[in-house]
């Protein structure tokens, strides 16, 4: 079996078809890789359990039942904030609107993360100290 024999046994149409199929499928793979992760998701977790997975494109207000009471999370114009919280220090409310990253309310055990799971994992750093 040699390469020349192999080339001779294929027609021009065979080779064009092979080329087109590889080109189309590879560009499809690249296209999907490029397009898919952009849809940001708002994850809301209570005590480590996800309670909401919301698209950031859609404006809405949700109430999350944490360990001390209800935390109100607002999604608007591709941004997220906590508007009401039963906690004492209200640090989560002070953090204001976020487009990326997370808001953590320690007393009420509520974590709001914006991004895709891939985003979270492909961050520049794996963890931050300090």
């Amino acid at each position: 079996m040699n390469l020349k024999g192999l080339l001779n046994s294929t027609t021009i149409a065979d080779r064009i078809l092979l080329f087109i199929l590889i080109l189309l499928s590879l560009s499809g793979i690249i296209f999907i890789k490029e397009v898919l992760p952009k849809g940001h998701i708002v994850w809301i977790e209570v005590n480590g359990h996800p309670v909401y997975l919301l698209p950031i494109e859609k404006d809405r207000i949700v109430s999350v039942n944490g360990s001390e009471g209800n935390t109100i999370v607002e999604i608007k114009n591709h941004k997220v904030r906590i508007t009401e919280s039963p906690c004492d220090n209200k640090l989560c409310i002070q953090q204001g609107w976020i487009e990326k990253g997370s808001i953590v309310c320690l007393p009420n055990r509520v974590v709001v993360i914006v991004g895709t799971p891939e985003d979270e994992l492909n961050k520049r750093v794996d963890a931050i100290t300090g």
Binding site: M1, G96, G101, V104, L106, L121, D126, I128, T129, G130
Partner: protein, 354 residues
């Protein structure tokens, strides 16, 4: 001749067919393994939970989602167990029992409590008392949420109760005892790191060979990421502006822990002076001389405790102590100047100040 001709070719055909089948399987099998590698590759799984009054994030590398999540949940429950033992505010914790019986009687404690107390005493000795877990009575005078600075006289009164030498532990009887009435141990400066160590042990016992545990800023990394690289840790800029995570340097770690103590964590500003939670056990006031201290060594209990201790010792004495211990460290002094131990140069990548 003709007869021979009739016999031979079909045999050769059989031989050729065998070669085809062999070729077919080699080619297909190599394609298949390639594909198999691509889809059964190891993935990174991450889960966060609020424990020990902070955000605990565990990241593991595994080829199965189920075993990854199971290992993470087991590690979370290990931290929960430690949280129950070391909680300063819970009256049932072993720590509270020791505190309640200060100056009264010895208290029988579990192996974990004994271990962590042993480690606090070790760090206290090595830092000449700069790290001191018996700082409890003084630290309770400060309220960092309400931004209350205590009276000088009340600090002075409580300062006589701060001395790690009054904490006695007996390994044979598994007991701990505080000699003076009114003494308090606060394990806040070491328990997060200790918990990270224990969580990593738990993950390893659950056959996870690579991962990252971060209990707030106390981080322990082991193994490598699926791309074969070590874990990349960012060190927070102590004078960050805004809410974004502002990083001053990054370092790649494996089978190592890192912790950072900073004057920005729990702090308030009163009359232009910054009051933070890293109190000097000699004076009862926040230590001056550093903005942040990051320590790197194998055990996270030590990085956690030494970060506090070295912060209180200050940059010059701190670097000397680290060199003596064989630990690595990055210190930002009060002027914003960066000091490092010699070994770490080249391993830490500093970002240009923006």
């Amino acid at each position: 001749m003709k007869n021979k001709f009739n016999v031979h070719p079909p045999q050769r055909t059989k031989f050729n067919v065998l070669i085809f089948i062999f070729l077919l399987f080699t080619v297909h099998y190599s394609l298949f393994t390639l594909y198999g590698c691509a889809s059964q590759k190891e993935n990174v799984y991450r889960k966060s939970k609020i424990l020990m009054d902070t955000l605990v994030t565990i990241t593991v590398v595994s080829s199965s989602k189920d075993s990854a999540e199971k290992a993470i949940d087991t590690a979370f429950s290990e931290i929960e167990k430690l949280e129950k033992l070391f909680n300063f505010f819970s009256p049932e914790s072993e720590l509270s029992l020791i505190n309640k019986n200060a100056g009264i009687s010895e208290v029988k404690v579990s192996q974990d409590t004994l271990d962590i107390l042993d480690k606090t005493l070790y760090v206290s000795e090595k830092t000449e008392g700069a790290f001191d877990a018996t700082i409890g009575p003084v630290i309770t005078l400060y309220d960092f949420y309400k931004k209350v600075k205590p009276e000088d006289s009340s600090i002075k009164k409580k300062l006589s109760l701060v001395n790690y030498r009054y904490l006695m532990i007996d390994r044979n009887k598994s007991t701990a005892f505080l000699k003076k009435r009114g003494m308090h141990i606060d394990l806040g400066g070491i328990s997060k790191g200790y918990a990270a160590d224990k969580a990593v042990e738990t993950l390893k016992r659950n056959r996870i060979h690579s991962g990252l545990v971060s209990v707030a800023g106390d981080i322990k990394a082991f193994g490598l990421k699926p791309d074969g690289r070590p874990w990349k840790i960012g060190i927070r800029n102590p004078r960050a502006k805004g809410q974004e995570d502002d990083i001053m340097a990054t370092i790649e770690l494996t089978d190592t822990a890192i912790s950072t103590s900073g004057d920005y964590e729990r702090s308030f500003i009163n009359d232009g002076k910054r009051y933070h939670h890293l109190l000097n056990p000699r004076t009862g006031y926040p230590a001056e001389g550093c903005q942040s201290v990051s320590i790197i060594t194998k055990e996270c209990a030590f990085t956690d405790a030494f970060a506090t201790g070295i912060f209180i010792l200050g940059p010059e004495k701190g670097i000397k102590t680290l060199e003596k211990m064989g630990f690595d460290g990055v210190i930002v002094d009060s002027q914003g100047k960066v000091h490092t131990t010699p070994h770490i140069r080249g391993k830490v990548e500093f970002k240009r100040s923006s």
